[in-house]
């Protein structure tokens, strides 16, 4: 349970308000815990009762179509805006807490660095803002530049960078100081395929060292490749949460190639699920869990010969579209 606090204090934009847990950053607590988080801008409801928990050390996908409230939720979690109601804890402290920000790396969706600084100078500036020891600045900047593939452009002004290179630099800045939580808001939106691959590699490396990654994206393929759990957001509230396997297995099925079935087989096998055909294949959907061996046995008992059995899972995209259709 969260400590009792007023909603207004939960995310003071300056992060000046401190909860009793501030500084302790309770290691046992979840990386993010939000309860009934809502945000209203005059007549527009941007976020409506969002509750979610992100465990430490996982890659969490925050998915949703444009305008579903993803970026608003990120702003509330980072203390850039105040919730209209509800509350959130990040790394065991009130969302937006100033000291906890030392443990958070953030790549905003829309941002710019000082165009008149070089890439290395931007990183040194953020080392300074993070209050890293001065002797660590050069190595920390060099490591970040290397990690995001900008070592060769370290001395170039940011103003000469393409959007993709600025996004790489943004990721490098977010990695500084080995943060416990990295919030990436659409991190690959301006990147080419090589850049996207590099980001996926970095995310996996972050998970390997025990960091939590909060990935805000509308690219389902990206989420499918790196996320452990996801929350799907639509019209300001969560419509599904779980591991990728859970979400995709919600309507399991099987694809079969069978010969020698007698007349009337459909009626006798109808109880296993909904039957459709796709060329030479038979598709069974809406099956109960663990019923595939029983199905195969039933086909064999009817005299059918089972040539192939392929388990069917929904793609994340299919599941995503299905959930949004029901909204």
């Amino acid at each position: 349970m969260l400590p009792a606090r007023s909603a207004d204090r939960a995310a003071a934009p300056d992060g000046g308000t401190r909860s009793p847990a501030v500084g302790a950053q309770a290691p046992g607590s979840p990386a993010i815990h939000a309860i009934n988080l809502s945000k209203r801008y005059r007549d527009t409801v941007a976020l409506q009762g969002l509750s979610m928990t992100v465990a430490r050390g996982e890659v969490f996908g925050f998915l949703g179509p444009n305008g579903s409230g993803k970026t608003t939720a990120v702003k509330l979690l980072l203390g850039l805006a105040r919730p209209t109601s509800g509350e959130a804890m990040v790394l065991g402290a009130a969302a937006g807490d100033r000291e906890t920000r030392r443990q958070i790396g953030y790549l905003p969706e829309l941002f710019r660095f000082q165009s008149w600084l070089t890439a290395r100078e931007v990183l040194i500036l953020h080392c300074r803002l993070l209050r890293l020891p001065r002797h660590r600045w050069p190595a920390a900047a060099a490591e970040a530049l290397h990690a995001v593939g900008l070592a060769a452009r370290a001395g170039d002004k940011v103003g000469t960078f393409s959007k993709g290179m600025q996004q790489r630099l943004g990721l490098g800045v977010a990695l500084l100081g080995e943060p416990a939580l990295i919030v990436l808001d659409e991190p690959t939106s301006a990147l080419d395929p090589v850049g996207r691959h590099d980001v996926r590699v970095i995310i996996r490396e972050l998970r390997d060292r025990g960091a939590t990654v909060f990935l805000n994206t509308h690219l389902l393929e990206e989420a499918e490749q790196v996320c452990d759990t996801v929350t799907i957001l639509s019209k300001g509230h969560a419509v599904a949460t779980g591991t990728l396997a859970d979400l995709k297995a919600s309507r399991p099925g099987v694809r079969l190639q069978v010969t020698g079935l007698p007349v009337g087989w459909r009626q006798r096998l109808a109880a296993f699920g909904t039957w459709t055909t796709d060329g030479d294949w038979l598709l069974v959907s809406d099956m109960a869990a663990g019923k595939v061996p029983d199905l195969v046995a039933a086909i064999v008992s009817l005299g059918g010969r089972v040539e192939a059995v392929i388990p069917e899972r929904q793609s994340l995209e299919e599941r995503f579209l299905e959930l949004l259709e029901h909204e």
């Binding site: 934009p13 300056d14 105040r82 905003p108 941002f111 710019r112 600084l117 500036l125 953020h126 803002l129």
Partner: protein, 282 residues
């Protein structure tokens, strides 16, 4: 280095990299060269008596400082207008504000950096001017350092007001409003002078109220006072009352209560700016 000093040094570095300092230097050279030429011509003209020169040069110095105070104020307004809203709109502040730094550190750091730039600019131009005037005409104003401080204070007042406005308004709106208020305050100061000289109570009172609402013109009069030779003050006071209505003439130094109010006003504007920025959602 404290976060305030980090932001202040970043502000100064930006001014250098974006060639603001180079622009200041170029303008200073042009201003001082032209004024040096003017003061030389004024002091070495055989058609003017030495008595007339003795009156003309101090007035020319005041006019130069009047023009320079405008340059300082407009520069203050321009740089302060870009400080907050413009950086939020461009997305630069989002990367800084999510670091373990107070918003007050950001605002105070920017204020400190910009004030430092204005102070250096004012000190250099005023020193060069005094040197050039002395070299070309042999005249040194009674207290040029005090006058420079008042010109700087005038600029810092406007800088602080526009910084407050920039926490909520766009750079364009904040800058335009700041410059307009500065102009209105100057005009109200003229009204106050005219009201005092001709006994028009309403104008006098309106001007006085304006000087409390925005103390820029009141501080400008402080600069004028420290540039006036005592003989010039005595001559103006002895002359017809129309001469005392001259907006470039002041017979008394700014009173301490007024200067105290100006300092309180400055702190109030800074506090309002801090509160406004603190409450702003990104």
């Amino acid at each position: 280095m404290s976060p305030v000093l980090t932001i202040a040094s970043l502000t100064v570095r930006e001014a250098v990299r974006r060639r603001l300092v180079a622009a200041f230097a170029l303008i200073s050279v042009v201003l001082v060269s032209l004024s040096g030429w003017g003061f030389y011509k004024l002091s070495h003209n055989t058609s003017i008596t030495s008595g007339e020169t003795g009156l003309a040069v101090p007035q020319a110095v005041i006019l130069f400082m009047f023009m320079f105070s405008f340059v300082v104020a407009l520069s203050a307004s321009a740089i302060a207008s870009l400080a907050i809203s413009a950086e939020i709109d461009s997305g630069v502040l989002q990367t800084v504000i999510t670091r373990p730094i107070r918003r007050s550190d950001i605002l105070l750091g920017k204020w400190l950096g910009m004030t430092g730039l204005l102070a250096a600019y004012t000190a250099i131009v005023c020193s060069l001017l005094v040197g050039v005037v002395d070299w070309t005409s042999g005249y040194v104003p009674p207290d040029p350092a005090a006058a420079a401080v008042f010109v700087l204070a005038e600029g810092v007042m406007l800088l602080t007001l526009v910084l407050l406005l920039s926490t909520r308004l766009s750079a364009l709106a904040a800058g335009v409003i700041g410059v307009a208020l500065f102009g209105i305050a100057w005009l109200a100061g003229v009204a106050e002078t005219l009201g005092a000289a001709f006994g028009i109570r309403a104008m006098h009172t309106a001007g006085q109220i304006s000087q409390y609402l925005l103390p820029t013109d009141g501080l400008w009069h402080g600069a004028v006072f420290y540039l006036e030779p005592p003989a010039f003050v005595a001559q103006q006071l002895a002359g017809p009352r129309g001469e005392q209505a001259d907006p470039f003439f002041t017979s008394t130094a700014p009173a301490w209560p007024y200067l105290t109010w100006a300092a309180i006003w400055l702190v109030l504007m800074l506090l309002l700016g801090l509160i406004s920025f603190q409450r702003r959602e990104l």
